[in-house]
Symmetry: C2
Subunit: 281 residues, 2 copies
């Protein structure tokens, strides 16, 4: 890796936990486009799983990942063992305060500390110029961006759009857990976000009303249990009661034992502008 | 800095809090010797000072530092403002667990978290190949080395010997705080460490006995209040009751309001070897 850097080649890193899907591959394509070399890491990071999380059963299939990565044009695939990453006596942790207090941070204590620590390590190992993360894990991406800025890492964090299935379900390695019925029910997540978006576009500013409407919709699917639905400002990820600036509408649910997340970014100002254009036209 | 790196020049970094003395300058000379470029940072890091510490009165004299750095051959002097380093909303922290539990870590909670955070930032900004720290701050050096390894930073940490005044007092920017009498009394620190060393060389293995002897010696100077005297293994910095392998004998005292630290590394095996050579000769 170091040699490539000395040769003046730019490196784009796509950190993953494997079991690759189109979401990951869209990150690879962006990394290829912006850099000379695309590096992908595949590592299921135990540090970001809580005691009740799905570490043991998290889907793993390196042969499949290797093939998908090769086809997508990954130049270097980094597939370390747990012992390489966390040797005996490992004891250093990186933490971003504040941004991890809401959303998944409150549901999964310690999760983001695990994420920032592994990403700091991957950045140390690969020394990329740019690193690619998906908008689906929006809080993770925001926290990593903040870490990179705060620690002066000089790495550009690129956050790429959510890739969805035909029925709107955000792609996730965890979708494999879903039974046929659960998989059908899961489309309600994106539907509820679309409903929320429509409400904002129609001028609704009351966060509570929007969340209520989403809850009513999701509760029509008895297999889906809401972990949280939250509307937060885009920059600090703090809950808002009234929508004025750019917000994220984010949710997490359990379908059976499977925890899924999704979100949508909305800028009411942009909506207004579109409307005023429409009026002018 | 980036340009230098691209030119293939190696960078040695000497992070300091300024008010430079011979200890700092010995680090610069080592950095010059091992690298193409020597960078020094001068930044009094508020994050590593506790509420009762001496942040406000910590000695600062940048003109003097600039001159000393220039004469010592520093190529780049980095002298950031507090706002550059910790802009509003700063929220990322790096912490090494375990190594900070003993010695100064127990006397100064949060201190080493402040140290690792600023050093991680300086490493991000300067991107050195090697970084230089003094053996006087032995726990700091061990913690930084551990951080660098754990986070795969790829930076070589060089720990350079303590530089002492003629009477044995370890050089420190804080020595300036001492009154004439206090300054004289301060030589007891090194004397007590030399006493400890002699005891080990003469075969004493009982840590408590050694500490007791040091305490008795230091108490002869009523201006000197012991914060801690501790004998720890060199690698994990855990207290030992009996000296078998390599140890550090470390102490911290208050002389008036001035907190001073000092230490000595002892390897009883090396002592034995010398003796057996002596016998052979």
């Amino acid at each position: 890796m170091k040699i490539m850097r000395k040769e003046g080649k730019s490196i784009g890193l796509v950190p993953t936990m494997g079991y690759l899907h189109e979401g990951h591959l869209s990150l690879v394509r962006a990394a290829k486009k912006h850099n000379d070399v695309a590096v992908m890491s595949v590592f299921v990071n135990p540090l970001q799983f809580g005691p009740n999380d799905d570490l043991a059963k998290y889907p793993r299939d390196f042969k499949r990942d290797e093939e998908k990565a090769r086809l997508a044009g990954v130049d270097v695939l980094f597939y370390p063992s747990e012992k390489e990453i966390y040797p005996s006596g490992y004891s250093t942790y990186v933490e971003v305060k504040g941004l991890g207090d809401t959303l998944c941070g409150s549901s999964r204590p310690g999760h983001f500390k695990g994420v920032t620590t592994i990403v700091a390590k991957l950045f140390g190992i690969v020394k990329p110029d740019m690193a690619y993360f998906g908008q689906k894990d929006v809080q993770q991406a925001a926290i990593i961006k903040k870490m990179t800025e705060d620690l002066n890492m000089g790495i550009e964090i690129k956050i790429m759009p959510i890739v969805r299935e035909k029925d709107g379900l955000a792609m996730s390695s965890r979708n494999i857990y879903l039974s046929e019925t659960e998989r059908k029910d899961a489309s309600i997540l994106h539907q509820s976000l679309s409903t929320a978006e429509s409400m904002v576009n129609q001028g609704e500013k009351d966060a509570r009303k929007i969340i209520k409407a989403m809850e009513l919709l999701i509760r029509q699917k008895p297999s889906v249990k809401i972990d949280y639905i939250s509307i937060v400002d885009k920059r600090f990820l703090k809950e808002v009661s009234s929508i004025s600036g750019e917000v994220l509408i984010a949710l997490a649910v359990f379908i059976g034992k499977t925890r899924l997340i999704d979100n949508i970014a909305i800028d009411p100002a942009a909506v207004k502008t579109e409307k005023s254009f429409a009026r002018k036209a």
